[in-house]
Amino acid sequence: MASSGSEGLYTLRHRPPSDKLVDQSFRFLVTALAALVAIILFAIFLVVTLDAREAIAKFGLGFLVNSTWNPSTENFGAFTAIYGTLLTSALALLLAIPLGVGTAIFLTENFIPSRYRTIIGNLVELLAAIPSVVLGLWAIFVLEPVLRPLLQLIHRLLGWIPFFSTMPTGPGVMPAVLILVIMVLPIITAISRDSLNQVPPDLRQAAYGVGATRWTSIFKVLLPAAISGIIGGVMLALGRALGETMAVTMIIGNSNNFTLSWFAPGNTISALLANQFGEADGLQVHALMYAALVLMIITFIVNVLAQWIVKRLSLKYS
């Protein structure tokens, strides 16, 4: 030891056992807390599956294609709700993707000064912060009444198409789709904007350098380079739309009668759960748990697929 006079002043040259114990316990604690995520995830599957067991045994896979939901005869099938879930999400994305990506392009190009673009970007993100129950309230009292004449016009003109075959009179699938569009737009816009912003400027300069116009370079260079992020955002939005409950429940009409028409009341799995769980008992609870399990599996697949796509595509462009 280089024995300098002050050496004795350092009393902790050797770590006391308590110090090591704290270090070890902390490591153990945070590992356990991290493991809790896996445990919760596992528990969710377990609880829902166990509670759905009776309904699975009784209805089997027929549950997925049976469109009756009758608590008095205890005959349950989730087809209407599953169809409604998939239909509303698909239609919402169909409308939201072009709008969202178009807005993202608007926000990353220099059409207007960047100060205003930042403000608009922040505003769009604020839209994501509005609680879905408030959007539902707004949909009931503002969106649906305002929209009804327009939908009625479409019905009169195109009523021969099965999708528009009923007279819109209030809550229904279409208003639910539109409120979903409003809910997923901020996700798609924000993530697409971030992905476009991350494309290196050299790429655009290279495109301009060979004489490409603004929009040629957007379509041929910028969008392909940002595609992994955009698809990731779309998948995230899809997951959100599939599981979205409140706004949809409040405006979709909650009808378990299957119809092809988009203007008639319909149902989604989460709306079914929100509406019936409170008052259900016996087999109905198990049937609802079965429906919840179906919803979980669908969103699980979408989310895993989203993560996989982002990983695959980002490798390609990194």
Partner: protein
């Protein structure tokens, strides 16, 4: 015949220039269409809310069906209680899990698995969180024989907040330069001291931002609460009893045929939006502080 350089002049009639202009207009239209609902929702909620809100609403209970007046005091209190409970459950777990991922789990299989699990949990629909807690603690009366309760509601919200908090902690800690950890370890600090005294304090701003945003998100959540915290027309009776929240109040009252209830639904929406926008501003302010 123009001089050769005239060939470089911009010709608006050219097909590609027409196409470019059209696409530019379309993209502007997209932005406008996206902004319209935003303005409509916020403007409508604010106008409607300001028109109906009265200070007494924060001190009165909701009226019985068919009666006039009343307030949202119990729901306001309930939202604060349930959100606080959810923070109590999710913040320690989330920060701890995030610390594991960023500080202890570098490159190992288990942390990859936990990261994947966090992403999956983030994608779990909010209503499923409610169903899960219903099946786990409400139906089984796990919490000292109580069924619907504020604690159950808090747990359901915590399930939703957890992945956000883990992710922000993980990402916030990763922003801390590696040299800082070396510096602390280099003077003989243990990993625990390094993490708690040096690394975590350096990442407070991004973590706090993420947590505030997670709280804002959960304060407006309804789906996980409708069959965990349920609702109550009375004052909160303790954390093991059903409790009113503003979001569930909006849902329940929106479809009632009574004017007084619908008025209260608008008032509660106004308060919720106001609170949540406020928290978003706070989050912005915190992350702005960090940048300085």
């Amino acid at each position: 015949m123009p001089s050769p350089s005239a060939d470089l002049f911009f010709r608006p009639g050219l097909l590609r220039n027409r196409g470019n202009q059209l696409l530019t207009i379309i993209s502007c239209l997209c932005a406008v269409i996206v902004l319209i609902p935003l303005f409509c929702v916020i403007a409508y909620v604010l106008i409607k809310g300001i028109a109906v809100i009265r200070p007494q609403m924060f001190f009165e209970l909701p009226p019985a069906p068919g009666m006039e007046g009343g307030g949202i005091a119990n729901a306001f209190l309930g939202t604060i209680i349930v959100t606080a409970l959810s923070c109590l459950f999710s913040i320690p777990v989330g920060i701890g899990g995030g610390i594991y991922l960023a500080e202890y789990g570098a490159g190992n299989r288990f942390s990859d698995f936990i990261r994947f699990g966090t992403n999956v949990l983030a994608g779990v629909p909010s209503i499923i969180a409610g169903v899960f807690i219903y099946g786990l603690v409400v139906a089984t009366r796990l919490l000292f024989g109580n069924s619907y309760s504020a604690v159950a509601g808090g747990l359901a919200l915590a399930v939703l907040m957890l992945p956000t908090i883990i992710k922000t902690t993980d990402e916030g800690l990763k922003l801390v330069p590696q040299e800082l950890r070396w510096g602390s370890l280099g003077v003989g600090a243990s990993k625990f001291v390094t993490t708690m005294k040096v690394v975590l304090p350096s990442a407070v701003a991004p973590i706090a931002t993420g947590i505030v945003l997670a709280i804002a998100r959960s304060a407006g959540e309804t789906a996980p609460l409708i069959f965990t915290a349920l609702f109550s027309p009375f004052w909160p009776e303790g954390i093991f009893k059903p409790i009113a929240t503003m979001s569930v109040l909006v849902f329940n009252f929106a479809i009632m045929p009574y004017e007084a209830q619908i008025t209260l639904a608008w008032a509660a929406s106004f308060v919720l939006v106001f609170m949540i926008l406020g928290m978003n501003l706070v989050a912005r302010w915190i992350s702005g502080l960090a940048k300085r």
